[in-house]
Structure formats: structure tokens, C-alpha cells
């Protein structure tokens, strides 16, 4: 039994036991369901082995929504615990586990996959391509992310959740102060998912540089594709830093090295430094695609070209470079000298300028436009003022000497939620609603969507605005409770009420998905919003080959011109279309990675060695493999086109 002791939860609670049961029952239900409905073959053929960017995008989307639920439950628990002074809902250890999980899940396993879901589905369509440059690597990217997420998510029922914050600072995250395997889970699951992201970075840059439709120069690309391009460039240069940081952290915990220890020459601040060299570009990785979505939505629903295209492009390029120059603002208070803090203060304030340019360009796009307040447009219009609050409080925090007052108080928590939620989450919801008809062939219900928006937008402010005040009053971050005498009680209670409102809002979104799936008409146009870019020139649902004939483009809004000025988009005959074959290797290799990660978490060296060899065997197999794909015949393409044109 001693061997199994290591898998026990160090700090169990009824909620954790209940979750173990729930997870077990869900897994059994899934297996039984698939067997009963005889869907294993379907699952393997259509989803587990797919290399189609549209399918991969949908799998990322489902994963992101599931993780949104998990991260949201964590948030509700935290707000419930801090709603009243000296509450006993979560003890300190559990509170630490919950805020750690909340941060990692929301950033790495919810926001990133949500972004990649939309980039995967939309970018190849927006540039008139049939898929990404490396479809098999694309599948590998998804499955690595998925296995990383699964590994992280079982931590709280096997071995113990990480509890050192989503930033996992040393020496707290070292063996002396975090003895459970929780931090091992942190290091390895993020490492695995991170490899997937890096591969995607390379994939999307190559795709966007080389696979655009004829006539689509870089300066004629839609703005979402531009932001996807720049975002993936940031990924390529930022994620390797995280790879090394996690490697060194893993080595300290598993192999007794002294990178971040407090003895034998180790330097704990080095972790914080390396983490944020990655961490700051990461937040721009999150926000830039969101900006791209807003550009699409605002332009479509103002029925106008995006104002200031060139300055929009320039601003995202500048932001991408500057994002690597500001990282120290995350630890102004941690001991470096005034020269350092001054330099990084200046760069931090400077990066607000290109962002400001974008806000004005969006406003000017709406000026004199014919605005239609659809659900996506509501999120976009709500984003502008609310995000601006986040942005200006960021400039406040960027002033190093003032930051000594704000750092690690609830003021900081409010700031980053005021940028991430109206920035990233609103954009994801807007993008989801906007591109949903293209993905699934029906619209999400507008009325329910609007109720959800208002619940979310208002409740968000009710939840987080009070935190600016409690933070200035001195309430620290990551504190599981406070005494009545501090006076933090009333505002924290208001935050809790807001959190409940947010939960209702997100529940309404889930209900919308169910309701619309059940009742919405499938008889809709392939361009239901009367939009401007190439993805709307395809049929709904999109056929596997995307476009029967590759479009020829000669303006920023070739599809709009095709509709309004009768300039033809698709000239030329249909030819046989080359498609890549499905493959099971990405899924299998990722399963091996899961076991590999698990083995390292628990220091199981034999399985670790075997799975390491297994990973290399998969790579060797790929090297020797000869797979030239298959062709869709001209007749099959023509038949599909006729069928889809009949429906739409």
C-alpha cells in the first residue's frame, strides 16, 4: 500500500471526494455511452484522427468551454469564501489550491484554447486556403494541449493540486515549502501544453506567410488574420523561455539542482524573472487576437471599412515588439534597483500608446457607421469603456514607485480582470456568436444572447469594481480571509453578488447553446451577418476542402466587393483537390506524453523512460512514413458544391 500512498490527496475535503466520484461516474458514462451508441469508430475516424483545421478548432472550443466551467467554479468558491469576514468555507490550504487552479486553468487551459479555436477555424478561411501549412502538426498541437489540460485537471484528485499561485514563485514552489506533487503537476502539464502552443505558432506563421489566396498581399489581409499572425510570432519567441523556466523548475524539484533554491548559489528571483519574460508576452498573446475579433465585429456591424487599417497594423507590430520590453513591471517591488524600475516603467507606459491608437480607430470606425447592436456588437461596444478602465489602471500600476502601494493588493486583481475579461473573454464570446453560424450552420438565439451579455457586463463591474477600493484600502491578494475590523466585508459581499450574476450570465450562454441547437432554424444563409471577409464566401457548413476554387482577391474586402460591386471572386475551373489523410499518431503520441508527464510528477522512473522512448518512436515513425494524402475528384467536388448550394 505504500506505493499507492503517494497518489493520496494531502489535504482532502468532502468537495474533493465528491469530485472524485463525479469524475469517475462521468468517465464511466462516456465509455458506456460510446459503446451503447456504437460511436467508437465514428469518434476515432472523425475526431481523434482528424487533421482538418475546422474540426480541430471545434475540439479546442469544446475544451475551452469545459475549462471555463472549471475555472468559473473556482472563482465562485473564492468569492463565496471572501464574501464575509472569517468565513470557513475554504481553509487557507484549499483557498491556495483554488486560486492557483483558477489562474492556470483560465489563462492556459481556457483562454489559449479559445483563441486557438477561433484562429484554427477562421484564419485558413479568411486567407482563402484549404488548411494550415502543417495539418498533422496542428492535430498534435491540439492533443498535446488536451493532455496537458487533463494532466493538470486530475491533480486535485490524485496526489494534490498545485497551491503556489499561477505564477508558482520559488522558493515557495520548491521542495522545502511545497512538498506535495502539486507543483510537479504545474511544471509538467504546462510544459506539455506549451509544446503544443509553440508548434501552433510555427504553423500559423508559415500558413499566413505562404498560403494566402492570389492577390491577398499582407496589407490586404483581414485584421483578425493580422492579429493571428503577430500573436503567433510572439508565441514563437516567448514560449521557449517558458520551456526552459519549467525545465529548470522541474529539475530543482525532481533532481535536486540549485537553480532557484536559497542555498548552493541558487537564485529564487531568477524564476520570477524568467517566468515574466514569458508571462508578459503571454498576456499580449491573449489580447491581440481579441483586438482582431473586435476589428472584424465593429467593422461588420458598423457596415464600414475598418478605420485606419495601416495604423492598426503598425500598432500591433509595435505592441508585439514592446511586449518583450516590459516584463519587470510584474515584480517592481522585488528588490532590483531604481534604474531597472525606471526603464521598465517607461516602456510599460509607452506600450499603452499603440493600444490607445486602436481604441480611437474602433471609435472612428463606428462614427457615421450604420450600427446594428447584435450580440457580438454589444460585447465590442461594452469592451471599449470597460477595458479602458483596465488600461488606465495599468498605467497607474506601471509607475514603479506608486506600485509599491498597489502591488499584490486587490487593486492589481481588479486591474488584470478589467483587461482580461472585457478584453479577452468578451471577444471570445463575441467571436463565438459571430462565427457560430459558419461553424455549425445555425445562429445562436439573439434574445438569450442579449440577456447573457447584460448579466455578464453588469455583473462583471459589480464583482470587480469594489476591488479597486478594497485594494487601495489594503486588502492583499491571495488572502483566504480577513478580520471584521479591517472593514473589507461589505465590498467583498458586493463582489460575491456580482460573481453570482456572472454565473447566471454564463449559465444563460450554456442555455443558449442548448436552446439554439434544439430550436434554431438550419435554413440560414451562408452569410447571415452580411459580412465583409472571405470566410463568409464559403458554404455553411463548410465543406472539407473549404473552397472549390481558390478565390482571387484584389482589395481588403474582396468578398464585400463581390457582393456589392459584382466583382467575381471565384474564377477558373474546378480541379481535383489534394487533401491530407487522417492520422492517429498525434493522438497516440499525446497519450504517451500524458503518461510521460504523470510519470515525472510521481517520479516513476521506469514508465518515464519507457514513455520517453515511445515519444521518440512516434517521431521516428513519422520520419519513415510515406503518406501523400488523397485526392477529391472533380466530380465529388462538383456534387458537394451542388448539394450545398441547394441548401444555402
Amino acid at each position: 500500500m505504500n506505493f499507492f500512498d503517494r497518489f493520496a490527496i494531502p489535504h482532502p475535503s468532502p468537495a474533493i471526494y465528491a469530485s472524485m466520484v463525479a469524475i469517475g461516474l462521468t468517465v464511466i458514462a462516456i465509455i458506456v455511452g460510446l459503446t451503447y451508441f456504437k460511436k467508437w469508430g465514428y469518434l476515432w475516424r472523425e475526431w481523434l484522427t482528424t487533421v482538418d483545421h475546422k474540426r480541430i478548432g471545434i475540439m479546442y472550443l469544446i475544451s475551452a468551454l469545459l475549462m471555463l466551467f472549471r475555472g468559473g467554479v473556482d472563482a465562485l468558491m473564492m468569492r463565496a469564501q471572501t464574501a464575509v469576514p472569517e468565513n470557513a468555507l475554504l481553509d487557507a490550504q484549499h483557498y491556495n489550491e483554488v486560486f492557483t487552479t483558477h489562474g492556470v486553468v483560465m489563462i492556459i487551459f481556457m483562454a489559449m484554447p479559445f483563441i486557438y479555436a477561433l484562429m484554427n477555424f477562421v484564419v485558413p478561411l479568411q486567407i482563402g486556403a484549404r488548411d494550415v501549412a502543417f495539418p498533422r502538426l496542428n492535430a498534435l498541437s491540439f492533443w498535446l494541449f488536451f493532455m496537458g489540460a487533463m494532466l493538470f485537471n486530475i491533480s486535485f484528485v490524485i496526489g494534490g493540486s498545485p497551491d503556489a499561485g499561477w505564477t508558482s514563485y520559488f522558493p515557495l514552489a520548491g521542495n522545502d515549502f511545497s512538498q506535495s506533487v502539486g507543483t510537479n503537476y504545474y511544471m509538467l502539464s504546462i510544459q506539455i501544453a506549451g509544446i503544443g502552443t509553440l508548434i501552433s505558432g510555427i504553423n500559423f506563421i508559415t500558413t499566413i506567410l505562404k498560403m494566402r489566396a492570389p492577390g491577398m498581399t499582407l496589407m490586404k489581409m483581414p485584421m483578425f488574420t493580422w492579429t493571428a499572425f503577430i500573436t503567433n510570432a510572439i508565441v514563437v519567441f516567448a514560449f521557449p523561455v517558458l520551456t526552459i523556466a519549467l525545465l529548470l523548475g522541474t529539475m530543482d524539484r525532481l533532481f535536486g539542482t540549485n537553480f532557484f533554491t536559497t542555498t548552493n548559489g541558487g537564485m529564487d528571483m531568477l524564476w520570477a524573472n524568467l517566468f515574466w519574460v514569458w508571462g508578459h508576452p503571454e498576456v499580449y498573446i491573449l489580447i491581440l487576437p481579441a483586438f482582431g475579433i473586435y476589428s472584424e465585429v465593429i467593422s461588420t456591424f458598423s457596415r464600414r471599412n475598418l478605420y485606419g487599417y495601416k495604423s492598426m497594423v503598425a500598432s500591433i507590430v509595435i505592441i508585439s515588439f514592446f511586449s518583450f520590453l516590459v516584463w519587470t513591471h510584474h515584480f517592481f517591488t522585488m528588490g532590483q534597483g531604481p534604474l531597472t524600475n525606471s526603464i521598465f516603467s517607461i516602456t510599460t507606459m509607452a506600450i499603452a500608446i499603440p493600444t490607445g491608437i486602436k481604441i480611437f480607430n474602433w471609435l472612428l470606425t463606428m462614427w457615421k457607421g450604420k450600427i446594428k447592436f447584435t450580440v457580438p456588437m454589444l460585447y465590442a461596444v461594452g469592451f471599449i469603456p470597460i477595458f479602458t478602465i483596465g488600461g488606465v489602471t495599468g498605467v497607474m500600476l506601471g509607475m514603479a514607485s506608486a506600485d509599491y502601494q498597489y502591488h499584490n493588493t486587490m487593486f492589481l486583481v481588479a486591474h488584470f480582470h478589467y483587461t482580461i475579461i472585457p478584453g479577452v473573454v468578451f471577444a471570445m464570446l463575441a467571436g463565438l456568436t459571430y462565427w457560430w453560424p459558419k461553424m455549425f450552420g445555425f445562429m445562436l438565439n439573439e434574445r438569450i444572447g442579449k440577456w447573457a451579455f447584460w448579466f455578464i457586463a453588469i455583473s462583471f463591474n459589480v464583482t470587480f469594481f469594489p476591488m479597486f477600493f478594497t485594494g487601495l484600502d489594503g486588502q492583499a491578494r491571495r488572502m483566504y480571509t480577513y478580520s471584521e475590523a479591517t472593514g473589507f466585508g461589505p465590498l467583498n459581499l458586493i463582489s460575491f453578488v456580482g460573481a453570482v450574476g456572472l454565473a447566471i450570465g454564463f449559465a444563460l450562454i450554456v442555455y443558449n447553446v442548448y436552446y439554439s441547437t434544439r430550436y434554431a432554424s438550419r435554413n440560414i444563409s451562408s452569410d447571415p451577418w452580411d459580412a465583409r471577409s472571405l470566410e463568409w464566401a464559403t458554404h455553411s457548413p463548410v465543406p472539407s476542402y473549404n473552397f472549390a476554387v481558390t478565390p482571387k482577391v484584389n482589395s481588403i474586402e474582396a468578398f464585400w466587393d463581390a457582393k456589392k460591386k459584382n466583382i467575381p471572386l471565384f474564377q477558373g475551373k474546378i480541379d481535383k483537390i489534394h487533401m491530407p489523410n487522417n492520422t492517429g499518431v498525434p493522438f497516440i503520441m499525446s497519450c504517451i506524453f500524458f503518461v510521460w508527464g504523470f510519470s515525472f510528477v510521481f517520479s516513476l522512473w521506469i514508465p518515464a523512460i519507457i514513455t520517453t522512448i515511445g515519444i521518440f518512436v512516434c517521431m521516428a515513425h513519422r520520419s519513415f512514413e510515406k503518406d501523400d494524402g488523397y485526392y477529391i475528384s472533380v466530380k465529388d467536388v462538383e456534387d458537394t458544391e451542388k448539394k450545398l448550394r441547394g441548401v444555402s
Binding site: L209, K210, F237, F321, T328, T340
Partner: protein, 93 residues
């Protein structure tokens, strides 16, 4: 036989050997820190450039704009990371 040993590659190899020998000067002679570091920086970056341009054919195709931009960005951010880290953790502590 001589078509297998193109001039550019041979010259590049010889030049790299020369640069390596020059770098060795900091080991064999007693030089000031500033001079030694300058020699190392110059020889290392020049040899890296020789590898990239002469051996790896970085400028050979229509993608050379993308390739050079990629390399420039990578080196720029690499230098920021290295020198930024040193400033934060060593020089201005």
C-alpha cells in the same frame, strides 16, 4: 572531384577556423576584460553570420525577407532577454 568542394564553402570553413583561432587569443594572452569581450563578441557574431548566410543559404530564396526578419527579431529579443536579465538580477540589484 573539385566540383564537390565549392569555393564558397571552403572559404567559409577556412574563415571560420581563422575566427576560432582569433577567439582563442583571449585564452592564450592576458588581455583586459573589455578587449577580450570585444574579441569574443565580434568573432562569435561574425562566425554565426557566416554559418547563416554562406552555409545555411538564408538569403537564397524568395522567403529571405521572412527569414531575415525572423532571425533579426530572434536575436534582438535574445539580446534583450540576456542583458535585461543581467541588469535586473546582477547589475542593478
Amino acid at each position: 572531384m573539385s566540383e564537390l568542394f565549392p569555393r564558397k564553402q571552403v572559404m567559409g570553413f577556412v574563415f571560420s577556423l581563422v575566427l576560432t583561432a582569433v577567439a582563442l587569443a583571449v585564452y592564450f594572452f592576458d588581455l583586459s576584460f573589455a578587449i577580450a569581450m570585444t574579441i569574443l563578441l565580434v568573432t562569435a557574431f561574425v562566425q554565426a553570420a557566416v554559418q547563416l548566410v554562406v552555409f545555411m543559404h538564408a538569403g537564397e530564396t524568395g522567403d529571405k525577407g521572412s527569414i531575415y526578419t525572423n532571425l533579426f527579431y530572434a536575436f534582438a529579443i535574445a539580446l534583450v532577454t540576456v542583458f535585461g536579465t543581467l541588469l535586473i538580477l546582477i547589475w542593478d540589484m
